[in-house]
Assembly symmetry: C2
DNA sequence: ATTATATATCGACTTTTTTCGATATGTCAA
DNA sequence: TTGACATATCGAAAAAAGTCGATATATAAT
């Protein structure tokens, strides 16, 4: 987890929003998991399409953003059927906040 | 203090270094304050020239960087004679770390 | 097999950031 | 008041990031 990459990932309004939305998925993505039966629904994850709709950018852009955030360590993903679910990597985020507090 | 501006300011290796160097000025800028008599030396501040030398970028670039970091709220400056001294704005940095921990 | 849907990747164009040298401004010393 | 030095600002060129539509890939449904 390179701090510079995390700072870059967060220095964009839309990506920052996405990270914050994913803190409370059920609040910001009420339709979430419509595709999946509850028993397999990916805990806290939201599919790309739902994020795209909310973020109001093109499909390719949101896909690019999510990939970038995952590479930075902020998100993790799971593919379920044709959907990819993204959720926060809370442990990495916590570590980053800790790094900021102590090293910066 | 706009979080996005802070993230942008920190998403560059040189600027991140500067912020960290200024955490321990006497360690990273041993010649610091050579210009000033001790009794007026700006507590914890380092002049642009010393920062430039250590950062190894051009004078205009370091000036631009420092201005950007100040606008983001990370640094504050005082002019003393022909020198400008920059130091960390610890309160703003603390607030930012707190924001990151609770809001991100 | 074909079609439909979700996501990823590609290629291109636009915008922003990086970075510099040149110049301007402000201050000090002779 | 002239010359030297520190810093700031300007203008430009190069590099990187943002962003899109088109296309590829993978899965699901018919």
């Amino acid at each position: 987890m390179e701090p510079i990459d995390v700072f870059k990932a967060l220095s964009n309004k839309t990506r920052l929003n996405i990270l914050q939305w994913l803190k409370e998925p059920e609040k910001h993505f009420p339709k979430q998991g419509a595709h999946l039966p509850k028993e397999v629904s990916y805990k806290g994850g939201v599919c790309v399409g739902d994020i795209q709709e909310k973020a109001e950018v093109s499909q390719s852009t949101v896909s690019h953003y999510l990939n970038m955030m995952q590479k930075a360590g902020l998100l993790e993903s799971v593919r379920y059927g044709q959907w990819t679910y993204y959720r926060r990597n809370e442990e990495a985020i916590r570590q980053f906040a800790e790094f900021l507090k102590t090293e910066i």
